[in-house]
């Protein structure tokens, strides 16, 4: 049996590296794509050594959209699975005051990830198989004052994934939307997050592998978030706008 290959985009992210370890442990070969992928040399050595799999590194910038087609064409093999962990929270206050800052957050969370998954989706469609996993966020479920720039971009990405799934389902290609709540990573380091609501990157990784195997469509990480978001979405806008949440 030939080994399966997973491409991980934004591979330097803590969640992405946990996903890499999870699939490596299950025997998958890996393509790790990131800005300055050379910074992942130690991770590559570690993954190869521990799990006896093959890992290749690829320079990838989600914002360099004009290069996405060439990027996919240049991969040593078209992967069986793609996990996109690219994301950028930015600083909400800065985003409010500076349109350029806001646009960078929007492009990093929506435009860039959507563009590369569109190219990969087409390639998978042509082959008639493959799984695309997009890591979006519960922040996209409702715009909140504290992070609506990031949230709105994630909302766009979530809708994109939903549409892509709808389109490719008939073509043998599966799309998974991951909606993590809080995750203890570089992105959230130093924030004071409630322990019960905060997952470890490994939990996200395990949830992703299980979703890929069971062909789930949309997953939350830590089930409690389903209920938290149910409540948050149910609050009438008239009330919501007066709340500090």
């Amino acid at each position: 049996m030939t080994r399966k290959t997973a491409l991980i985009l934004g591979a330097r992210s803590d969640i992405a590296l946990a996903v890499a370890r999870e699939f490596a442990a299950a025997g998958w070969d890996l393509q790790l794509a990131a800005r300055e992928a050379g910074r992942l040399a130690d991770d590559r050595a570690d993954l190869e050594l521990r799990h006896g799999i093959a890992v290749s590194l690829h320079d990838f910038d989600a914002l360099a959209i004009e290069g996405h087609t060439a990027f996919v064409a240049g991969l040593p093999v078209l992967p069986d699975l793609v996990v996109c962990a690219v994301g950028f929270m930015g600083d909400q206050t800065a985003s409010e005051g500076d349109p350029a800052a806001a646009v960078l957050v929007m492009r990093s969370n929506f435009e860039g990830p959507a563009s590369i998954l569109a190219v990969l989706g087409n390639a998978f469609e042509a082959r008639g198989s493959g799984t695309l996993v997009g890591i979006s966020s519960v922040a996209g479920e409702r715009g909140r004052a504290v992070n609506y720039i990031y949230g709105s971009a994630k909302a766009g990405f979530t809708a994109f994934l939903s549409g892509l799934r709808n389109r490719l389902a008939k073509k043998g290609v599966h799309v998974v939307t991951v909606l993590p709540g809080f995750v203890a990573t570089h992105m959230t380091e130093g924030m004071d997050l409630p322990a019960r609501l905060t997952a470890r990157p490994e939990e996200v990784a395990t949830a992703i592998r299980s979703a890929v195997e069971r062909r789930r469509d949309v997953i939350h990480v830590r089930r409690i978030w389903r209920f938290v978001m149910l409540v948050i979405r149910a609050i009438p806008e008239r009330v919501f706008k007066t709340m500090r949440i």
Partner: protein
């Protein structure tokens, strides 16, 4: 945030950073009063600096392995458990291992840990080929027996006080299986236990569990446990089907803080009696998996909570051959008289191997380890045990210490002053400091 060691005593308010790369690590170190923290399995305050504790968890990469020599190059934050998970299925096992696998390479090197094979193979230092050490300015130095040998020597056993270990090359031992042929003998007295350990010099692994509530003629009654790596030929049935004994072990967990009262003399008596009975009945030889054999307590997640909220302290000393028996007798008698019960009492014979570690704990003779819940009277008992150790020319294990005085350390070990002076001379003091080093004036 609140930080402590495995004994959960003392609990200190400390600043904890977790740098992600070399540059950030250098910045942390240059801030001063830095101490590296591995996985926090030392019992007391060795891995806590109130101003600047540097967690090594992001330095967790295995970098290279040479299957011809068994040499593994890895970053200091790699867990021993991960080394075993990756390499035992390929026929390699740690050459020296402490009684828990949830320790980092950095922590094992800094404490120069010992295992049940110390009498034959020496301490962890024996399998360390080289280390990369970051000094107070953030510069890296390759240290080995040939290169920067002085720095190498003081770092093994130096409890993080010579710098930050970034990477190490360690040698694993080839094994045919993950099974251990365990032989258990019961020894009715301390004398018998020591005789059994002396007589078992040929055994790869040896250790004695002491029923530390035994008194009078039964003082020091023990189970002496010997072990050998089993060969392929020795396996049959389900063991042959799983030659490396990999796979999930049933795990118990201690979810909440057990009240210290749970640990009254009675409970301990029952525990020890059971242990003794089991061992006597099961005396003889059987095959056991590596995990249960080397890491019996790892199967009980959070067992340190069994001692309750106030935490516990461990006492571990080493005694030279000449005074060992008298010293052990006095230590055990004092412990059993105090009725303070020790959940675990472990006796181990140390070998004579002379390792490179200049401040390492092991020395020829015996080592005894005891646990006590922290409660009224514990401190007095510990002081008494300190005094007995000093009277018998013994020394103390810093990885277990949480409360000793600087004076006691100085009296127990003439190397203390040399270590302190060396630290000052080499620019390590006060650049690297832990709550323990401050307390002990290292």
């Amino acid at each position: 945030m609140k930080l402590s060691g495995w004994g959960r005593y003392p609990v200190l308010e400390a600043r904890l950073g977790a740098p992600r790369d070399l540059d950030a690590l250098g910045e942390h170190v240059r801030a001063g009063a830095a101490i590296a923290r591995g996985n926090g399995r030392s019992y007391g305050d060795s891995a806590v600096s109130p101003d600047n504790t540097v967690h090594m968890r992001h330095f967790h990469h295995m970098l290279a392995f040479d299957p011809t020599t068994g040499q593994l190059v890895a970053e200091a934050g790699v867990l021993l458990a991960d080394v075993i998970a990756a390499f035992l299925p390929r026929g390699w096992f740690p050459a020296v291992t402490p009684g828990t696998k949830f320790v980092t390479l950095g922590g094992m090197i800094a404490a120069d840990v010992h295992g049940k094979n110390h009498h034959r193979d020496g301490s962890f230092a024996s399998c360390v080929d080289w280390i990369d050490l970051m000094d107070a300015t953030g510069r890296l130095h390759r240290c080995s027996r040939d290169e920067n040998a002085e720095l190498f020597g003081w770092t093994l056993g130096g409890m993080g006080l010579t710098g930050i270990i970034l990477r190490a090359a360690i040698r694993l031992r080839p094994v045919e299986t993950g099974w251990i042929r365990q032989t258990t003998k019961s020894a009715p007295s301390l004398e018998a236990a020591m005789a059994a350990l002396e007589a078992s010099d040929e055994a790869t692994y040896s250790v004695a569990w002491i029923d530390c509530l035994g008194t009078g003629a039964q003082l020091g009654r023990s189970l002496v446990m010997l072990g050998e790596h089993a060969t392929r030929q020795e396996l049959s049935g389900p063991q042959a089907a799983n030659p490396f004994a990999m796979g999930p072990r049933r795990r118990l967990s201690v979810p909440v803080d057990a009240p210290a009262a749970l640990l009254n003399g009675l409970t301990v008596r029952a525990f020890n009696a059971l242990y003794y009975w089991k061992g006597t009945r099961g005396a003889g030889t059987r095959l056991v998996g590596w995990d249960g054999y080397f890491y019996p307590l790892d199967g009980i997640l959070g067992w340190n909570r069994i001692y309750g909220r106030r935490g516990f302290v461990q006492f571990q000393c080493a005694l030279p051959p000449d005074t060992a028996e008298a010293g052990l007798r006095a230590l055990l008698r004092t412990t059993s008289q105090a009725g303070a019960g020790s959940f675990l009492a472990v006796l181990k014979r140390f070998g004579t191997a002379d390792g490179p570690g200049q401040f390492s704990f092991p020395m020829p003779g015996y080592t005894l380890a005891l646990d006590f819940p922290v409660r009224a009277g514990t401190e007095r008992l510990m002081d008494r045990l300190d005094a007995i150790t000093l009277e018998h020319d013994g020394r103390f294990y810093l990885a277990k210490d949480a409360r000793m005085s600087a004076r006691t350390l100085e009296q127990s070990d003439p190397r203390t002053a040399i270590f302190r002076a060396g630290r000052a001379r080499m620019g390590m003091r006060p650049a690297f400091a832990s709550a323990q080093s401050e307390r002990l004036d290292l």
